[in-house]
């Protein structure tokens, strides 16, 4: 890995480039490390060798297990020396080597001696080293010393113990929690950093006890915390308390706001900034609360220090998203930052200005930005392009100058991501601002005349095919498209052929001319291009005369595929060539949502037992396979939907159970995923006794017990019910886990022969209307809505009563209906008073359903909702209203 420095430096005989580590080699240094074993230690020389070892490690060199062990044992010899400098290097070296448990024992006694030494520096460092390398068992032995160290009068020692405590809290919380009293004493320390470390540890010890945190904050905000770092911590804890108490404290002033506001006058910049940022991030912050924070941030904008300017402009940029008016006061300072040396600051300033700017300032701003664009990197340009896009959506009247700007920068040099951002923006503007359509399409046409990115060319061609035929003069785009057939690679040519065909299909007058062009494509040297041309020539019909193209042909060629491509891909992979043709209707339409948990950073994995029982992978395919492999359920037909797992037990109970509801046309199967979290038990013959007395339409038909459930390996048991066919029957089920429990000897892992029958109460389970709804998205909601028969529309209004927030109300309704939100409408912007949400889905019986929800705030908290449903069956539209009315 690490290049020996010598190679690089060989060819340059520069005196100034001399390095003491020139030509250093691991093998030689390991040899040198033998001096550690000399009876007469030379501290200087030993220090040098350790430095060399550390240098190697720092350059990325690694030691093998044997080498590391050897070095470690040699280093332990150095505890004999009384040289402070050497000892200090020994500490660092031991931490770097991170010895294994059996090696740690060798140094434990030496370190414990140092921990009780009279020399402060020894105590502090020995604590840090020992806590770093120790495991839990040793900790109880040294706990007494650590507690003493926390209240040591030397701040370095106290800090070392406190910081070690913070680290140890992750691994040995029960021990560290016992130090509460000492830590509390340290919070009062006169030494700034001790106070900071003590406060951090005290808060972490108490973080799960909301009341205690509240008390901590109340008492400290009154007193004076000396250290700026500790004050920053206190501000963070305070905002947390404010956040958590926001829900139950509606009336009157916000608690602790005065404290935050007071911190704006602190003498340390880090505290001022922390407080200002905390205020801007308060939930539902008012402009009166914001003003003082904005004022100090504005001062920072003209600071000579880049870090302050950056911090301020970054925060104001965020504020501008929700409270653009509050930031307008800073516009003049912000404009002078456009020329800032630091390009990050300049970009943030520009995008903030774009957010806060008003209609009249747009033109001036665009002029300034044009100069600026030439000398920043692509990544900054992308940010600017995105800001301009949202500005244009805000001021549609300004589309001309903004569109011009976009087309200008589209012609300039730039990488793929940047060009893609511009093209995406133009496409969005064309879609949302009808007046911008024609000029936007022409800009795109010009761009593909000289575009090096195949992906963008094909995207634009596709888009042209959709929008071009709808313009006043579709023929003017044909030239641009046909040029592609001559000049580009096969992928783009094929795309161009499809686009031409679309023009031919949609615009009858163009059809003869398009046919001429398509016929020429029959001689292309690429298979795909020729195939496409042949297909279109044969299906569009009319032999190139001016005739209308049949609706079904259009639907076949250009209709949208309402099946998720992933599902289609999977089904095609599973298809085995046979007499039977592949049936596209057999592809599941359910949109798979990726479990979020997978994306979370590793290292924070829940520990084995506390984790919820992991069922088999929750994909439709896997469930389908699993269920069809069970003979009892094999004749239930096609699986309509499987729900997400519903927990039936609290976290960290003896047995963890969750249930997945599988809906068939005439049956429902409950799949109980069980995990046994008691190492001393083996469960056998596990069943769930379901009481369906509150679910009248359901009758139990089969049950499949789980033969045995050993410790920590999840298993499943099933119960099946019959229900009236095609009817969205609902009901409540109570569940009891019944099993035979056998004691297991933990040392041998063998179970006793005799078991005892036992029961375990689980929580209730409900089959609700949403279980009969598949989440199926549509790509263009408006189109889909308009093609649906208006006769089947049902509209009604509902009062939802007081709600926590608009977003919460929207979510509740989405969950109630179990439908797929479209076009990102499930996200409610902060502080908005009304919101429209679009949903789509497929109801049992394969009935497509579209829902348009309009929410409005009525009074401070009351939410009113207008629900419009269109579906292929009016009975289903009524059923949706019933769901909402009864929910």
């Amino acid at each position: 890995m690490a290049q020996p420095l010598v190679k690089k430096d060989d060819d340059r005989d520069d005196e100034a480039d001399y390095s003491p580590f020139l030509g250093i080699e691991k093998g030689a240094v390991l040899q040198e490390a033998r001096v550690f074993n000399d009876p007469q230690l030379d501290p200087r020389r030993c220090s040098q060798v350790i430095t060399k070892l550390l240098y190697l490690l720092n350059q990325g060199e690694t030691f093998t297990k044997v080498e590391a062990t050897e070095v470690f044992f040699a280093v332990t010899k150095l505890f004999q020396s009384k040289d402070i400098g050497l000892r200090r290097m020994v500490y660092v070296m031991i931490k770097e080597l991170s010895p294994s448990a059996d090696e740690v024992i060798i140094v434990t006694s030496s370190l414990m001696k140092d921990m009780t030494s009279k020399t402060d520096m020894y105590r502090a460092n020995a604590i840090r080293v020992l806590c770093r390398i120790t495991d839990g068992t040793l900790l109880t032995q040294i706990e007494r010393y650590l507690k003493q160290a926390i209240v040591d009068k030397n701040p370095v020692v106290a800090s070392a113990a406190l910081v070690s405590g913070i680290h140890l809290l992750q691994t040995n919380p029960e021990i560290v929690k016992r130090w509460s009293n000492e830590v509390q004493e340290a919070v009062q320390s006169r030494a700034a950093l001790v106070q900071f470390h003590a406060l951090a540890l005290l808060h972490q010890i108490r973080q799960n006890d909301r009341l205690a945190v509240n008390k901590l904050v109340s008492s400290l905000t009154k007193g004076s915390v000396r250290s700026p770092l500790a004050q920053c911590l206190l501000i963070r804890y305070t905002s947390q308390v404010i956040r958590e108490s926001a829900n139950n404290n509606q009336a009157g002033d916000r608690p602790f706001y005065d404290f935050l506001e007071g911190c704006l006058r602190h003498k340390a910049e880090m505290v001022i900034f922390e407080a200002a940022r905390a205020i801007t991030e308060l939930n539902g912050v008012t402009s009166r609360e914001l003003t003082p924070a904005i004022t100090v941030l504005q001062l920072f904008l003209s600071s000579s220090k880049p870090v302050l300017r950056f911090a301020a402009v970054r925060t104001l940029n965020k504020v501008a998203m929700t409270h653009p008016m509050a930031v307008t006061n800073c516009n003049i300072d912000m404009e002078s930052l456009i020329t800032d040396q630091n390009r990050s600051i300049a970009t943030l300033a520009i995008t903030t200005l774009l957010k806060t700017g008003n209609e009249s300032s747009v033109d001036r701003l665009m002029k300034q930005i044009t100069n600026f664009m030439s000398d920043i990197a692509d990544e900054f340009k992308i940010v600017v392009v995105e800001a301009i896009r949202s500005l244009c959506l805000k001021f549609p009247l300004k589309h001309r100058s903004l569109m011009n700007f976009l087309s200008n920068i589209l012609r300039e040099e730039g990488g793929f991501e940047y060009k893609k951002a511009i093209v995406d923006s133009i496409v969005i503007l064309i879609r949302d601002i009808p007046e911008a359509k024609e000029s936007g399409l022409l800009h795109l046409c010009e761009f593909i005349e000289d575009c090096e990115f195949t992906y963008l060319s094909t995207q634009i061609l596709h888009f042209l095919g959709i929008e071009g035929p709808k313009t006043s003069d579709p023929s003017k785009y044909i030239r641009y498209i046909y040029n592609r057939v001559h000049l580009e690679n096969a992928t783009v040519r094929a795309g161009a052929v499809s686009t031409l065909a679309k023009f031919g299909a949609m615009v009858d007058t163009l059809k003869p001319r398009v046919f001429v062009l398509l016929r020429r494509c029959l001689f292309d040297n690429d298979d795909e291009v020729r195939d496409r041309a042949t297909l279109y020539l044969n299906t569009l019909g009319g032999d190139g005369a001016v005739v209308e193209t049949g609706e079904d042909v259009k639907e076949f060629l250009f209709g949208s595929l309402d099946i998720p491509l992933v599902n289609l891909e999977n089904s095609l992979k599973n298809y085995e060539p046979s007499e039977e043709a592949f049936d596209i209707n057999s592809v599941p339409k359910e949109v798979k949502t990726q479990p979020l948990a997978e994306k979370k950073a590793p290292g924070k994995k829940p520990t084995g037992l506390g984790a919820p029982p992991a069922g088999p992978p929750s994909t439709v395919d896997a469930y389908e396979k699993l269920l069809s492999s069970i003979p009892e359920f094999a004749n239930f037909g096609k699986l309509f939907k499987s729900s997400a797992p519903v927990e039936l037990t609290e976290a960290e109970t003896e047995y963890a159970v969750n249930v997945v509801k599988h809906i068939f046309d005439g049956h429902v199967v409950f799949q109980y995923n069980c995990t046994n979290t008691i190492p001393e038990q083996l469960l056998e013959n596990v069943t769930v006794i379901v009481d369906a007395s509150e679910a009248e339409e359901f009758a139990e038909v089969a049950s499949k017990p789980l033969r045995s459930l050993p410790y920590d390996s999840p298993g499943q048991t099933f119960v099946a019910f019959e229900k009236p066919e095609g009817v969205p029957a609902i009901g409540k089920f109570s569940n009891m886990l019944r099993f035979i429990v056998k004691e297991v000897d933990p040392s041998t892992g063998e179970a006793e022969d005799d078991g005892v029958e036992d029961e375990y109460q689980l929580e209730e389970l409900e089959v609700v209307a949403a279980d009969y709804m598949l989440k199926v998205g549509v790509s263009n909601f408006r189109n889909a809505w308009e093609t649906m028969d208006a006769d089947c529309e049902r509209v009604d209004e509902y009062g939802l009563g007081p709600r926590e927030s608009l977003a919460e109300a929207v979510n509740a309704v989405i969950n109630l209906l179990g439908m797929q939100p479209c076009e990102g409408t499930e996200v409610v912007p902060n502080n908005s008073r009304s919101h429209t949400c679009l949903l789509s889905g497929v109801y049992i019986g394969n009935v497509k359903v579209l829902v348009r929800l309009q929410f409005g705030l009525d009074g401070p908290k009351d939410v009113a909702m207008k629900l419009a449903v269109r579906s292929e069956d009016e009975a289903v539209s009524d059923a949706i209203h019933e769901i909402v009315a009864s929910g």
Partner: protein, 177 residues
């Protein structure tokens, strides 16, 4: 949100982007090649800027990086994207000034490599496992310097710290402004 301010790494690179001394406190870069890639990216991004009078700052890959250059040495401190920039800058300033004190004003690559032990100890005194230990350059330098004293010298750390602090005060003033 992480409540306690955390440092992701501290880097000291030379004018070609090569390591003098680096310390990572986060698992975000599990391998040496990931670390080297990060250093390369940081260096490339900051190389052309002038961070010689004031600490500069940039943001990329969801990290905030503050940095300062002197001679052929490039100092960097990295934090998470939501970290208070000014706290990071304080750590950088502490590191930068402490190195200045320890190298007795001659702050360049040659001197840094010749006193690598001091630099490594300095890193060890500033941050422990991501948590800030100390940001005051005088105290940091004092803790490091006291270790290079003879074993026989009187072991009153505080006085040594203070002596050192006074001796270097005029220098620090100009650095801390």
């Amino acid at each position: 949100m992480e409540l306690c301010p955390l440092i992701k790494n501290i880097l000291l690179l030379d004018s070609e982007g090569k390591r003098i001394a680096v310390k990572y406190y986060s698992d975000d870069w599990p391998t040496n090649s990931a670390k080297e890639a990060f250093e390369k990216a940081v260096f490339a991004k900051t190389q052309k800027t002038n961070a010689r009078t004031d600490a500069e700052i940039t943001m990329f890959d969801n990290y905030v990086v503050v940095y300062k250059f002197v001679q052929d040495l490039h100092f960097f401190v990295t934090g998470g994207e939501n970290e208070n920039e000014i706290i990071l800058a304080a750590v950088l300033q502490g590191f930068f000034d402490a190195v200045g004190l320890l190298l007795r004003g001659t702050v360049d690559k040659k001197e840094a490599l010749e006193n690598l032990d001091l630099i490594l100890l300095c890193l060890d005194e500033i941050v422990d496992g991501g948590i800030i230990l100390e940001t005051d350059a005088n105290v940091i330098a004092g803790k490091v310097a006291s270790h290079s004293m003879d074993a026989g010298a009187p072991l009153s750390e505080q006085t040594i710290t203070q002596a050192l602090a006074t001796a270097r005060e005029h220098l620090t003033r100009s650095l801390l402004k």
